[in-house]
Each structure stands twice: as C-alpha cells, then as structure tokens.
Symmetry: C2
C-alpha cells in the first residue's frame, strides 16, 4: 500500500497537500492539479494520499458525508499521536495534544474490560478569521 519510489507524481501530490493548511479530499487535490495543468491520474492521487497517511506523514479525517480528507502533518507532530481542531468553514486545522482525553479513554476502556484500545477525537468549530466573515 505504501508507494515508495520518488516519482514526479509523488512530488506534485505532496506539494499540493502542503500548499494548504486544511483538510482536502482526493477529488479536490486531483481537480487542483489538473487545473494547474499537471498530467496525473485520479488513481495516482488516491494512491499517494493513502500512502502518506499510512506513513504518518499525513492525517485523515472523514467528513460529515464520510468522504476522506487529508492534511499534510505539521513538522512538529509527524508520527506523534495528536488530534485536530478544524474550522468547518475554511478547513484550517490546528494540531492539538489530547492529554486529558488519552487518560480518560484508557480509564474508560479498562472500566468496561475492553482491550486493544484506539480512538478518534476531532474538534470542529469556526476559526477567528471566519468568525468575522460569517453572519449570525
């Protein structure tokens, strides 16, 4: 599943991801690359995004419709376990530590006798920037 050779396509997919600070879908990235004049296949975009995620270089979040969105992981958090605070308007995301959550999760699982624990924790809101633009 991990695509390892250094190809031109791998580069442009990585660059496209890094160019934004928010989560973007494979379809989005594909459309942007094509619009920018790059010759690349949709399958290839999927392959690399998933490969980045498998390597921990990128994070994945499934949006409300279940569509997978990817984000290039910030330098300081590559590989480390962390979560995100995502602006549901512009897609911008902050990487956050989950200290209290991790402890609560472990304790809760123990209480119910569950093992091999894992968890998904994502925070959504409207960022300071978008707040000014938006009504209500």
């Amino acid at each position: 599943m991990a695509v390892t050779r250094a190809t031109a396509q791998q580069s442009i997919v990585r660059d496209a991801l890094q160019a934004h600070d928010g989560f973007r879908s494979a379809q989005d990235v594909f459309a942007d690359l094509r619009a920018a004049g790059h010759r690349i296949g949709l399958s290839t975009v999927y392959r690399h995004l998933q490969s980045f995620a498998a390597q921990g270089i990128a994070d994945v979040i499934h949006d409300g419709d279940g569509e997978a969105t990817y984000r290039y992981c910030g330098e300081s958090h590559v590989g480390e376990h962390h979560h995100h605070l995502v602006c549901r308007h512009c897609g911008r995301a902050e990487e956050v530590e989950g200290g209290p959550v991790e402890r609560w999760a472990a304790q809760t699982a123990r209480r119910f006798g569950y093992v091999e624990l894992d968890h998904t924790v994502e925070l959504f809101g409207v960022c300071g920037n978008c707040r000014s633009y938006l009504p209500s």
Copy 2:
C-alpha cells in the same frame, strides 16, 4: 428529513435496530428485514434510520470506510450528549459520559479562538467477550 407518520415500515426498522446492541449499517438492516420476509424498500430503511438519528433516538458513527452505522440509543441516554466505546469485532457498544473530554474540548477551542464548537469522540477496542475468542 424527519419522517413522522406511524407506518408499519417505521416499526420494523425501529425493531430491527433495537434487536441488536451494536452499530449496524442501513444495508445490514435492509438485508435482515428482507431475509426475515418483510417487504420494504432500501430507500425507506435509509429514510427511517436518518430520521431516528435526526431525532436523537439513534446514534450514527461512520466506520473506517466512511460507511454510516446506526444504533438505537439506550433509554437512559436518549437526547443526552454522550459517546461510545465500540467493540471493533462484534460491534457491541457501551454508552459513556465524556466529562473530562467536554472540558478539554471547550478549553482547547477557547485557546485557539474557535467558536460554535462541536466534536466527535469514539472509542474502539475489543470487548471482554471477543477477547477470549480472538487469537494474538
């Protein structure tokens, strides 16, 4: 979006959900109902499951593939905000309170200047029952 009239189909979809203590997909519920000899359409199953969710009667979780799964909410937690500890093997789920998580989420959002906060928190593991059946 909420289907309100008391129809036979609404009943059997509700019953099918209540009959299991784990999260199940619309496709699963549909297959079961058909196998049990009920005449019902797939669209109708989707309609009712989504309606239950909109009313807070059922919970929804998107599984790893982004497929939506539904679960009839336990009596004591209907309407109240809560989370789940789900067995990734048999689908069984425990309803859990997220006290520490709620506080952490609010504090984190404030720190980054985000408003209109919301969050998804789901715990996954292997339940005590399944642990005995499973290898490794």
